[in-house]
Symmetry: C2
Subunit: 301 residues, 2 copies
Amino acid sequence: MDDSAVARTRVGFIGLGRMGLPICRHIMRVGYELTVYNRSPTKAAPLRALGAIVAPTVRYLAEHCDVVLSCLDSVAASEQVFLDEGGVVAGARPGTILIDHSTIGPETARSIGAAARGRGLGFLDAPVSGGPEGAEQGTLTIMAGGEAGVFERALPILGTYGATIVRMGEVGTGSLTKLVNQLLTFVHGAAAAEALGLAERAGLDLRSLGEVLRVSFGQSRMLERSLARVLVGNLEAGAALRLYAKDLGLVADVGERIGASLPLTDAADRVLSEAVAEGLGDRDIAALILHFRPPIEIDRS
Amino acid sequence: MDDSAVARTRVGFIGLGRMGLPICRHIMRVGYELTVYNRSPTKAAPLRALGAIVAPTVRYLAEHCDVVLSCLDSVAASEQVFLDEGGVVAGARPGTILIDHSTIGPETARSIGAAARGRGLGFLDAPVSGGPEGAEQGTLTIMAGGEAGVFERALPILGTYGATIVRMGEVGTGSLTKLVNQLLTFVHGAAAAEALGLAERAGLDLRSLGEVLRVSFGQSRMLERSLARVLVGNLEAGAALRLYAKDLGLVADVGERIGASLPLTDAADRVLSEAVAEGLGDRDIAALILHFRPPIEIDRS
């Protein structure tokens, strides 16, 4: 896509959270005209300062853009933004491309895809991995489901914030891929907490342990991430535990529908429920280690 | 250690299995005089052809070496080789260094360490990660427990087949580190099978999935290893499933002794029991995917 194509393509973005905001900056950086919408409009202020147009409604945004992207935090939000009467599918002109980066599950993705096709719109379900850090750095992994032609037209925009961008197949396969990733991410995160908790109780030096595990078959990216946070005591906001409850629910839905047993996911899910009940829901997944640590004994003498 | 030190140090090795045999080749390659012992003596033939001395008994080997190494496949074998009347501890001259690469658990390691100290011998419990491939390539990870002075004297020999060699602390910490690694290795291996089984049933292309997961938070070394084997259909001998039963038993022992709950390990252990009952015990850990695949329906019409 040459400069004139960038100049001609009007991009819209809905959902300016910890993922959406940095993604928008990358899109604007290369010269796209960007229109944004967020339910709470104060979030749009930093982008308005950079020259973005702030749409008064989702419908206004849909009517005025060639490519509409979104990154929302619940299945209900995606359904509302895309499928409601005042939503993107109803408002977009035929030929517009819609891309949802939210984690919505394959069923919702297919519903939005079918509605979009019915109005002559392209649709990609394109969840991401990499978290807010990956969004800031423009190094997200993007797993997309949808027609090849739609995917190719979207690539120049996705490439402004994605380092690895893979078309997995038809609509729904992006979401399925994300759920498989979430399953592994959370099981590995829970296993890291269990293993580090055991190591702490047994008196092992966690820094030396990390040196060994990094080059052993026990290695995982989540272990490295959690251990780094445990070593500096940073267990606060990050990949908040309560957000995984929604994603693991979507994984369980898929498992049930296709008859797959998920014993590790189920065990990790029970750890999650207990950790949330213990008040860890807003903390990073690395805080799961607190679930495995012995309770602190308070000296009341 | 200069060449004359290599020439002066007589090394002994007990247990010439899929790990021990390639390790011995690396030790001989740099010029150490090597004496070997294996319960079944035919295993020693390839090393004899390279110039190794084949000891008639464990005791003979212990009496004639300055450093005695072992790599055995059960706790009972290590106890017998080191602690029996005709064993290494009874036979070695004071000042000899003993190193056990077997996965034996911290309790057994401390028993051997105490017996060795009582006779003026050094001891390291030094399990390895990397499997037969790592042993062949001389790129093993070695996690060692024991006195710093003993560790430093052992380093020149360990360096002939280890790429990462870490002293974790006193005797027992090498074994504890290995058990934490085994916990993660097996949970990640079971999670990989569960995730790939779900992906297959849902119709995802596993090669594209691997491309995404490799650069996502769901990444793990075991996932990469299992996926590579699943893609080429190589689910046979490798890291045989039944060997994990022993290691997970040692993990459970430690957990029970120090009061650590291990819900992910327990779930993975149940998967292992079921897979072994299904006849997968001698196959690679990647064969766990067969436990999660739908049974093949045989057309009997």
